[in-house]
Subunit: 466 residues, 2 copies
């Protein structure tokens, strides 16, 4: 096992202090307690037992995550930029532009997250910032990220976020100009019906926005061309920058069906809607601000997708059909039976520890007796959605799908691949991470060769970037 034995390790455990940076002392504050109370109302509205083990600490976790994730309301740009402006000589303007007088500075690929003001779900932001120094001074590079973070850690909308970061840097650094490009990624907003109907439903909504000040005010200026040229080196495609449309929101909660549903749902769940409004107040926001008026009902609409139901799945009476000899896709032989792989069944779920979405794909492998057709993909997709649209943990989701599929098909193997919003939108902020879980039943559990055959049938996944 390496250099440490258990005894050494126990000694090490005693030599400790609290988590420092991760504990902001939010616990027990009135705003935190108010959010906890509101989250309990939401959990009860979902038909959940707020005292069950997995949910006991959920209200506190949600409250801390929301308060940490909106701490930007209480931060000052001046505190960050002051003391990080450094004298740096440049060139006489007739000679050229460089250093502290005109030399473009660009920092790319700064990962942030923000909360969508339309639906209260976190969204990912890849931030690219450029500025042209003037006055013979430059700013410490990390400050570009820290200032962006102040505005990301609020309830936001991509274009306003870009504008605010741009303006804050402009007044903070007083350069010749600032340019901001944001690539934003918002989880899609399925509801049970559309998800079941549309198997090709996309997981993410993407948007690219920009803002410019000073020499960047004119989007057709040469300095924009230089800036975009430097983004292209990093593979950042800037051809699709959105022009600002203040009326149409990018958030999927604001689609026509969403707007309809909000008015349908609101009367049905007034307690939940008021609970979300009280959360907004506890975060220091004004729920009557026009961009926030619909937010509580949008969030409740999203949440109700994951309502606790006692719906029984009717899986009895399923029979294998006869096989079509020409159809051998997704199959591999093993011990005279075929391993059939049903890949990339999409799912949405809601992490019960943080009330945050996790989302990804399910791969199912099973042994198919020769001469019989594989089971229909749509039935498997329905099973996946049935267990996905709940308050869940990925480990349980994996087991439940495996057990249910096994009740029809016998020996099965299930792999669930997911991105967890809770891994990016809380303290750890691990943007590239992804989680995989496995369940194996019957022959798969003691036949490594069968497992390997199934795993090899799963295509490589490229990181879900912006």
């Amino acid at each position: 096992m390496g250099a440490l034995d258990e005894e050494h390790f126990d000694v090490e455990l005693e030599n400790g202090m609290k988590l420092g940076c991760l504990e902001l002392g939010l616990e027990g504050e009135p705003e935190t307690v108010a959010i906890e109370d509101a989250v309990k109302v939401l959990l009860e509205g979902l038909g959940e037992d707020v005292n069950r083990e997995g949910l006991k600490k959920t209200p506190l976790r949600v409250a801390k995550a929301l308060r940490e994730g909106t701490r930007g309301y209480k931060q000052k740009v001046k505190d960050i930029v002051q003391g990080a402006l450094f004298p740096e000589v440049g060139l006489d303007n007739e000679v050229g532009q460089a250093g502290g007088a005109g030399g473009l500075v660009v920092v790319r690929d700064l990962d942030h997250f923000s909360y969508c003001e339309s639906c209260l779900l976190p969204f990912q932001v890849k931030c690219h910032v450029g500025y042209v120094p003037s006055g013979q001074r430059v700013v410490g590079l990390s400050k570009l990220s820290r200032v962006a973070d102040i505005f990301a850690k609020r309830l936001q909308e991509p274009q306003r976020l870009a504008d605010e970061v741009c303006l804050a840097l402009h007044y903070g650094i007083k350069p010749a100009g600032v340019a901001v490009v944001l690539q934003c990624l918002h989880i899609h907003f399925p509801n049970l019906e559309t998800a079941f109907l549309d198997p090709n439903h996309q997981g993410w909504v993407k948007i690219l926005v920009s803002a410019g000040s000073g020499v960047f005010e004119n989007e057709n200026s040469d300095v924009w061309v230089d800036f975009l040229g430097l983004l292209k080196f990093r593979g950042i495609n800037v051809e699709k920058i959105q022009t600002r449309d203040p009326i149409k929101s990018w958030c999927p909660s604001c689609s026509s069906s969403g707007a309809k549903i909000s008015s349908e749902l609101a009367p049905a769940n007034p307690g939940m809607v008021s609970a979300v409004a009280s959360i907004l107040r506890s975060l220091g926001e004004d729920p009557s601000r026009k961009e926030l008026v619909e937010t509580p009902s949008h969030f409740v609409k999203w949440l109700m997708n994951f309502q606790n139901t006692n719906l029984e799945m009717k899986l009895n009476g399923f029979v294998f059909g006869k096989t079509d000899p020409h159809k051998t896709n997704g199959e591999a032989s093993c011990n005279k039976k075929h391993i059939h792989s049903e890949l990339n069944l999409s799912f949405w779920s809601q992490c019960e520890h943080h009330l945050l979405p996790f989302h990804g794909v399910v791969h199912i492998g099973y042994f198919r007796p020769e001469g019989l057709n594989p089971i229909g993909k749509s039935l498997l997709q329905s099973i996946v959605h049935f267990y996905g649209f709940k308050l869940q943990v990925q480990e349980r989701l994996t087991r439940q799908i495996a057990e249910t599929v096994s009740s029809i098909l016998g020996d099965v193997m299930v792999v669930v691949e997911a991105s967890h919003t809770c891994m990016i939108s809380r303290g750890i902020e691990k943007f590239g991470s992804s989680t995989a879980t496995i369940a194996v039943l019957g022959q798969f559990s003691n036949d490594p060769a069968a497992r390997a055959i199934f795993l090899q049938s799963i295509p490589n996944i490229t990181t879900s970037g912006v």
Copy 2:
């Protein structure tokens, strides 16, 4: 400019609090002050004026970064894992493995950084963790990352880091087994001589290590095959896992030339070496621990690459040679002159704000009169190294290279692309970010078409991943 005007913004600035998470209150503590004093000794040893503007706060910045970056010494695994173990039923072992009883759980691509115990420079760690739950319980996914962080935030060596994370999770979660794979990336250790001699000097040293406990103790077990299969989906090539060699260090400071130099340097800089030893003590380490004995001299050796020198560059008497009509590589026409691009000149430098390396490539474009040969690449590379091997900021480096090249070649454009260690190894931890700076002289400053031609000649850069 968008939704905010300056007045609105100023009001917003007043409504603030301190940075919260980013301010750990380390300022003024005896350990911090002791490190500040030691850093002043190092700066003086480099021939620097510790009171010049760019360096005034460097001792405090270095002290805070080092103490934050080694806070793992004071953290407890129990504090993190306790309260994050959740009951989760599994399956009877005869039926299969799933959920809280045997279903493999894998979290991939967790970005961390650590400090190399051989040279005190930060290195990047991409961490992949798997565990097989037992006892009908699972751990919150983020805890795998938080526990890894406790051991990463120390002076480390990749294999020990993997072993410690593995063991800590094993005793913390009490699962059937834990597997850890780390991909580590250490900046290469040039010294002035080898850098000048070897233009193809690689920027990074890479290593892949693993550790396993319980069912993962045997590296040839089937469960390792499952785990590695799930890493492959993410493009993680695990074929090069190192077997442990406790004698040979991965750190470039421990190469044979490094060992030689350390004994040469130590007598010359006893004050600097003792200063680094005192930093180790202030971090809670024992400088006489055998892995740390050479660390102060290694760090001083690295640092001395960036000594302040008054070396004059002799560039007079340079003349263009006649052109070879068959050689037109790296050229593009513009206004009857050719724009010649000299691309990917590597550089190392040391950020004067944080005493941390930044490293990357320089691209130089200039107008070459028709019929004349381009200037030799080795001269340009020498100019780049001359300005790189100093305490620097990227903006100044860019300007200095541009001014010097311009004194020989007239109108020039310089692009510097860099990764800054200070962007990952302090609070902001922005792992994927990269910085570009531009300087333009003469015709390039008022000819956007010439700039565009030069920028287009620069090849796209793939992110420097592990």
